[in-house]
């Protein structure tokens, strides 16, 4: 069970710099809360955030605090409650809460606000970010590129598909990087990306995935919370490759899931947490690129023996290159 947990190895170069082992500050007194849009059992976006605060709690002994199912209209109220109590770190998990987070960050300068954000870094990104000293827009970037690169190697029919749940930033961010990623490893492959229109209807997702597989697509991955599990099921049933996403989902479909690609939020928020503790807090865009290891890849779970050796090597190679920045600034 332990190995099913996402890899929480720290980013190699933490933005906050190394934690000084000699620091005597009692980190367990830090007050951290995660405010979530859905339930922590959604196998996706919210669960990974839960894992993050769980990780902090396990490692540093802070009190584990989170709230689920928060409606957009209620978020400001939740934030206010914790800000009033001078929480050190308030994780507002989802870009739909952007407005509330910005408003509250201005109102409560004593707390540090982390808005979990999904965004692509390009020219317009800066316009999205407001300059509030105690608000950081936190998230990994370029996950799609990594996923796409692996998919490009895996495909035999040169047809790969990635399905998002809904057109929301945390998902769009990934979807928009897929094609670029595939091109890094495969110039010919047909790349299809689209949205399922649901985050919960796993049956529908499975049928949709089957439709793609029947059309010859032989590598599939999806980002749609619980619904994505339906896509993984479809891959296993039809004997095509799949990539897990968010958590290490090998267990869901061991015969299909070659690797899982994970938002490394546990490590990211550990990093941010330490930066607050260290007084090295950074506001604004706090993005974790592939180089920063904002995205991690799971264990092979034996697939490195099952796959043709050249594919395994190619995948290992491209991951390494992406992490090193050899293929561009991802």
């Amino acid at each position: 069970a332990k190995e099913d947990k996402p890899d929480v190895s720290k980013p190699e170069e933490t933005k906050a710099g190394e934690v000084d082992g000699g620091d005597k500050k009692d980190l367990s007194k830090m007050k951290v809360v995660a405010l979530l849009s859905g339930v922590i059992t959604d196998n996706g976006w919210n669960q990974i955030c839960y894992e993050s605060v769980k990780n902090l709690s396990d490692k540093y002994g802070i009190k584990l605090e989170y709230n689920e199912n928060i409606a957009v209209s209620d978020m400001a109220e939740y934030i206010r409650t914790y800000a009033e109590e001078k929480y050190d770190m308030i994780i507002v998990h989802g870009s739909q809460f952007k407005a509330s987070a910005e408003e509250m960050a201005r109102a409560y300068p004593d707390s540090h606000f982390c808005l979990s954000y999904g965004f692509r870094v390009d020219a317009s990104t800066a316009d999205q970010v407001q300059d509030i000293p105690n608000l950081a827009y936190v998230g990994p970037v370029n996950m799609g590129v990594l996923i796409g690169a692996i998919m490009g190697i895996l495909t035999e029919n040169n047809k790969v598909v990635f399905l998002g749940g809904q057109d929301i930033p945390a998902i769009t961010d990934i979807v928009s990087g897929i094609e670029e990623g595939v091109r890094l490893t495969n110039k010919e492959a047909e790349v299809k990306t689209d949205y399922l229109g649901t985050l919960t209807d796993a049956d529908l997702a499975k049928e949709r995935a089957l439709a793609f597989i029947n059309d010859g697509f032989d590598v599939i991955s999806a980002s749609a919370n619980t619904a994505q599990l339906g896509c993984l099921h479809a891959a296993e049933e039809k004997g095509v490759y799949a990539l897990g996403f968010n958590g290490d989902q090998y267990g869901v479909a061991p015969d299909a899931i070659v690797l899982s690609v994970m938002r490394n939020y546990p490590a990211i928020y550990e990093d941010v947490f330490l930066s607050i503790a260290e007084g090295k807090w950074k506001s604004g865009m706090v993005v974790y690129t592939l180089k920063d290891k904002g995205t991690v890849v799971s264990d092979w779970h034996g697939w490195d023996k099952k796959l043709p050796k050249e594919k395994v090597d190619a995948i290992n190679d491209v991951i390494q290159k992406l992490y090193n920045g050899d293929l561009g600034d991802y």
Binding site: V39, N43, Y50, K192, D194, G197, D203, A211, T226
Partner: protein, 308 residues
């Protein structure tokens, strides 16, 4: 030949997707024929979907999971019957509350039963049962004879329920309650018991539809995984003119909307996915407007019956 193969594939998918809606529709049909209008199918299916996974997990057999799901459905049905039959409460309001209860209770219990794990608990699930020879028939063979047992059950229930409703004495008695409970009463039929039975049995069938969603195609529970199928089943009953075969056709037509969405998305014509999502619902509305006016509901559907 290739085209035929493709059509066979669509049919295969359509039948499989129609099965849960069909089951829910058949369950609702029994309730409707007893004069009760239950819009709570969505909630019943949700709690059943969870129970099926729980049963399959704890007892290690998907069939026992199905049994537990049906039991959960029966309990919801009993609750509905107590409130609407005995206390004569507004059936729509109670149905709506069942939906709220099904959604929230399944979410809560899911957590209690399975805790918080990144990977879902895998349980025993239904497997495809190929019927020898028949499944080899070209084009339609796989569509009809290489499905999961619960799909066969759903479709076999169509003639069974038809036979029950229209060819047996208990079926006639049930229909008489839905048409005119007072008449049934004067003829010695226990109206309340009939309505209770119809609701409980009907709810277990609806629940089987819910169980299919979590342990048929899949092997886990997800919050709100029913995603409107309970309501579509409700429409299927009207569209199917309160006959099992009609419901079967309706379920297949409505779910064909999803098949169309799949095909359009795979074809990549560039229709925004939000519009693809709407297709089955728009199809349902159109179908209803064309056929609803000709549907003859049981005469006392939705009206509470007061004895004496």
């Amino acid at each position: 030949m290739d085209l035929l193969q493709t059509i066979g594939g669509y049919l295969f998918t359509d039948i499989r997707m129609a099965a849960p809606v069909l089951l829910a529709g058949l369950g609702l049909l029994l309730m409707n024929w007893s004069g009760l209008l239950n819009i709570g199918a969505e909630g019943i299916m949700l709690i059943a979907a969870l129970s099926a996974v729980a049963g399959s997990h704890y007892f290690g057999s998907v069939w026992l999971g199905l049994l537990l799901a049906m039991l959960a459905g029966a309990i919801f049905g009993l609750l509905f019957a107590v409130l609407t039959v005995t206390l004569r409460a507004n059936q729509t309001v109670v149905g709506a509350a069942l939906n709220i209860l099904g959604l929230s209770l399944s979410t809560t219990l899911n957590r209690v039963l399975f805790g918080i794990e990144t990977t879902v608990t895998k349980v025993d699930a239904f497997k495809v049962l190929e019927i020898p020879l028949l499944s080899k028939i070209p084009v339609i063979g796989r569509a009809f004879f290489a499905q999961m047992p619960i799909v066969y059950i759903a479709f076999l229930l169509v003639p069974v329920i038809h036979y029950f409703l229209f060819k047996t004495k208990p079926g006639l008695n049930l229909r008489s309650v839905g048409e005119n409970p007072r008449v049934a009463d004067t003829l010695g039929i226990n109206v309340y018991r009939t309505q209770y039975l119809a609701t409980i049995v009907g709810s277990t069938i609806v629940a089987a539809g819910g169980a299919f969603l979590s342990t048929g195609l899949l092997d886990f529970f997800a919050e709100d995984m029913v995603a409107g199928r309970g309501y579509i089943a409700l429409a299927a009953v009207i569209f199917g003119k309160y006959k099992p075969a009609g419901i079967m056709v309706a379920a297949m037509i409505f779910m064909a909307g999803n098949v169309v969405s799949n095909v359009l998305q795979v074809a990549g014509i560039g229709i925004p996915y939000t519009f693809l999502t709407m297709i089955p619902y728009i199809l349902t509305i159109i179908a209803l407007t064309i056929f609803a006016s000709r549907a003859v509901a049981p005469a006392s559907l939705g009206k509470p019956y007061k004895r004496g």
